[in-house]
């Protein structure tokens, strides 16, 4: 790669606090010209905060940002953009009702160049070709898949002449094939002398795509290393400050899988948001003690499938049985009561009530049952005690009393949902991308909790775009493509390359 020793961006002792808690605590860090610099750290370590400061979105409390040996102070993202720094946020910043081209011109100085959408579209097509990031500039953003939206975000920064690109957990939302394409584009960028800051939780991604890597721990820089002089073990040690990573359960110690079906779905048909069929005639069965993993590229009906199971979306055909009982007509609350636990993909939207405190969220599904309330009055002491126990058991960090959960980091939110769902009596756990965006330790602990759940005879239906996760956890792997179950594997019959093909919707003859 084209990395040189010349430092184009330096950060000195940057501190940023939210509500009195330091998210960045005297962080120092530097970016060299033409390098890909990885940023690793547990959930809440302050990675997004650091990136947002560099992108002009957050103002630091103290410390300096030095760009090309000049001390700078951004007053707004526009300043950063004008100085050639562009960020692709963890949550995209696109206007979904606008077209790709319209998003591109947004905020560009209209006087400096006479912009017609037609020429913008042409320029974007050309850029897209150069970097291998194909998108259709005249499409509306809401029509695009998450991967395409991300390409739009990256192109937009390039279009504005960004020299430094900050990618905050870009692969968290991508399917494996799309990740490869992304890194291909990143290589094109450094070849053209751009520098890239890459945030990721996935060790192998960091190891194979960066020149250097910085580890953040509790808002401080725990060390910057050359990637080719380090390895996963060393980085993990830096990250969690100890050598023992939580051991993953041994795969060969299989649990006893009973043959009683917990969830039986027959010929499920669901209509999607755009009026077309999102799930067409899917059937599956999850047995007691079994983990069934559904692999697939996002946008192939996963969301609608899950919503149909939990009762958040009307089905147009088929049936759903939980422990032999037809729950097709039940409300989502009734389904939850009859033993359905749900860890949704969308943490703050459907998973948690963002304005309530952690304590309140932890009892969100049982607040009206004893012992949490009596005759409509909440028993605060019981609730606090229960919440404290869950916080300890699931290692949920960063909550303070009275603070809305929306201020917690993604990983801790995920642990909170899992804690709530698993602590209630349930037969089936429906989990969607449960470790998306989680750090190593959190990922291991979430998977451990899911596994432990089946040891007590629970059944798990797991949707995930992370193929590694599906393979690691599942006793049965199904492939969902175009709203149909197109493949089924046990660990013994698993053929990864065939599965990958099926995921893309290709026909496989065997």
């Amino acid at each position: 790669m084209a990395a040189t020793e010349k430092e184009i961006l330096q950060v000195r002792e940057l501190t940023k606090s939210f509500y009195g808690v330091a998210a960045n605590d005297k962080v120092s860090f530097s970016l060299r010209n033409g390098e890909v610099h990885g940023l690793l750290g547990e959930n809440g370590a302050g990675k997004s905060t650091l990136c947002s400061i560099l992108a002009g979105l957050y103002r630091p409390d103290s410390g300096d940002v030095i760009l090309n040996s000049e001390r700078i102070r951004f007053r707004s993202p526009l300043d950063a953009s004008n100085m050639g720094i562009g960020m692709v946020h963890q949550h995209f910043k696109l206007i979904s009702s606008f077209t790709v081209a319209e998003n591109m011109v947004l905020g560009l100085n209209a006087k400096s160049r006479n912009i017609s959408l037609g020429t913008v579209e042409d320029e974007v097509r050309e850029l897209a070709r150069q970097y291998g990031l194909d998108v259709e500039p005249s499409a509306h953003v809401w029509q695009l898949s998450v991967g395409e939206q991300q390409r739009v975000e990256i192109l937009r920064q390039l279009f504005r002449g960004a020299r430094i690109l900050i990618l905050d957990e870009p692969t968290a939302v991508l399917a494996p094939q799309e990740c490869d394409r992304l890194f291909e584009a990143v290589r094109h960028m450094v070849e053209r002398d751009h520098s890239v800051i890459l945030v990721s939780h996935k060790m192998d991604e960091i190891l194979s795509n960066t020149d250097r890597v910085t580890v953040l721990v509790g808002g401080r820089n725990a060390g910057t290393l050359r990637t080719n002089e380090t390895d996963a073990a060393e980085l993990a040690k830096l990250m969690i400050g100890s050598d023992h990573l939580p051991k993953l359960a041994n795969k060969s110690l299989r649990r006893f899988v009973e043959s009683t079906p917990v969830l039986t779905i027959r010929d499920l048909e669901v209509i999607g948001d755009r009026g077309t069929e999102a799930v067409s005639g899917a059937s599956l069965e999850v047995l007691s003690g079994q983990i069934v993993g559904v692999a697939g590229v996002a946008g192939n009906g996963q969301r609608e499938f899950q919503q149909a199971i939990v009762g958040r979306r009307q089905i147009s055909g088929g049936s759903i049985m939980l422990r032999g009982r037809d729950i097709t007509q039940l409300s989502s609350r009734a389904r939850s009561r009859s033993g359905l636990a749900y860890v949704p993909e969308d943490r703050l939207g459907t998973g948690l009530a963002s304005g309530l405190t952690l304590e309140e969220n932890l009892i969100l599904k049982s607040y009206n049952e004893p012992p949490y309330s009596h005759r409509g009055v909440l028993s605060t002491a019981v609730i606090t005690a229960a919440a404290e126990k869950l916080v300890k058991d699931f290692d949920i960090r960063g909550a303070r009393s009275g603070m809305p959960v929306s201020l917690m980091s993604g990983g801790n939110l995920q642990k909170a949902i899992l804690a709530r769902e698993l602590s209630r009596p349930h037969d089936l756990l429906l989990a969607a991308s449960p470790t998306r965006g989680l750090d190593l330790a959190a990922t291991a602990s979430v998977r451990q909790h899911i596994r432990a759940d089946t040891e007590k005879g629970g059944a798990v239906l797991l949707f995930s775009e992370d193929l590694g996760e599906i393979v690691e956890l599942s006793d049965l792997i199904l492939v969902l493509a175009g709203g149909r179950i197109v493949g089924s594997y046990t660990p013994a019959t698993l053929d990864i390359s065939e599965l990958g093909l099926l995921m893309t919707g290709a026909k496989v003859h065997n």
């Binding site: 939210f18 992108a55 979105l57 957050y58 103002r59 707004s76 993202p77 526009l78 953009s81 004008n82 960020m87 946020h89 995209f92 910043k93 696109l94 206007i95 979904s96 009702s97 606008f98 319209e102 998003n103 011109v105 947004l106 905020g107 560009l108 209209a110 912009i115 948001d273 755009r274 009026g275 929306s406 201020l407």
Partner: protein
């Protein structure tokens, strides 16, 4: 031919609809930036009294109109500071504006040694701009050419705002701020600036509408003379799907309803006027129901996604 009931009704519908149209155009601009200002009624009243008073003092209808618009802008500035800078709940702030506006205008209209304000016919008015020959053409004469210049100004404004919103980059930016201020901010747009300016444009429209109502349509001042026109404008914004040309049509339809009330009264037909007054709101209900029944239609004419949501850069 030109004094058939139909032609006369259309003419009076246009006249009665114009003040509402101004107010709705302003509010469309405001809401497109994500700020909801329910205080139109208050701003119209302040616009009406300011316009009326300046009309009496200067005997110049145009100055009166301009003064009314300024009155509306000043009142909307209160809302802008509260809603944008201080992030007060926009519904609360807007409702407060109605009360402030009604109070201020009533007080001012009665105050001190100028009780005359209440009774005077201003004598200040707008005259038709086209010569009588053209105005006497059958049908198109009164319907198209018979109006005073302010009506034509409103047509120009409809076209201008529509062009601005959909054809200019600033309009695109304004809509972006209303759709997703976080994304707009990250794109380098100043959310605060866009929202301030469009809130003031809302005040301008409402003030202009109020002033025209007082001098151009009714011709006298009475406390509370808007009689709910501001609320109709609020409904109209929703009904039009935040689109200027539809606002024009709906404003004239509501104008027709308003004048129908008078016509029926004169004709001695006993439709309770309270019932007629309800129709705009019932129509809005119906449109909202019909629209939301179809997801595709709902997407097309939905309001700005971030409407009435305060924005703060570092909050999440």
């Amino acid at each position: 031919m030109n004094d058939t009931v139909l032609v006369l009704s259309v003419v009076s519908a246009i006249s009665a609809g114009t003040p509402i149209l101004f107010a709705a155009l302003g509010e469309i601009t405001t809401e497109r930036s994500g700020i909801m200002n329910l205080g139109i009624e208050g701003m119209m009243l302040v616009g009406a009294i300011t316009g009326f008073w300046i009309g009496v003092e200067t005997e110049n209808a145009w100055l009166a109109l301009l003064g009314g618009a300024l009155g509306g802008i000043l009142l909307s500035l209160i809302h802008a500071v509260l809603a944008i800078s201080l992030r007060v709940n926009q519904i609360v702030s807007g409702l407060a504006l109605v009360i402030v506006g009604s109070g201020l205008s009533a007080f001012w209209g009665n105050s001190g040694d100028r009780p005359t304000l209440v009774q005077t016919k201003t004598g200040v008015r707008f005259d038709p701009i086209f010569p009588e020959v053209i105005r006497d053409l059958p049908v198109v004469g009164p319907v198209i050419f018979g109006h005073d210049p302010v009506v034509y100004l409103s047509w120009v404004l409809v076209a201008a705002i529509s062009y601005f919103l959909y054809r200019t980059q600033t309009g695109l930016s304004l809509r972006a701020v209303g759709e997703d201020p976080g994304a707009a901010d990250a794109s380098g747009l100043s959310v605060t600036r866009y929202r301030y300016v469009s809130t003031l444009v809302g005040g301008f429209g409402a003030g202009l509408g109020g002033a025209y109502l007082a001098i151009g349509v009714i011709g006298t001042w009475a406390a509370g003379l808007t009689a709910g026109a501001g609320w109709i404008a609020v409904a109209l914004v929703i009904l039009s799907g935040w689109r200027p040309w539809f606002a024009l049509l709906a404003a004239y339809a509501f104008g027709a309803l308003r004048s129908l009330g008078f016509t029926l009264q004169i004709a001695g037909i006993g439709v309770p006027s309270d019932f007629l007054a309800m129709i705009p709101f019932i129509a809005t209900y119906l449109v909202v129901i019909v629209v939301s029944a179809s997801p595709t239609r709902a997407r097309k004419v939905a309001g700005p996604a971030a409407l009435a949501k305060p924005y703060s850069r570092e909050a999440r």
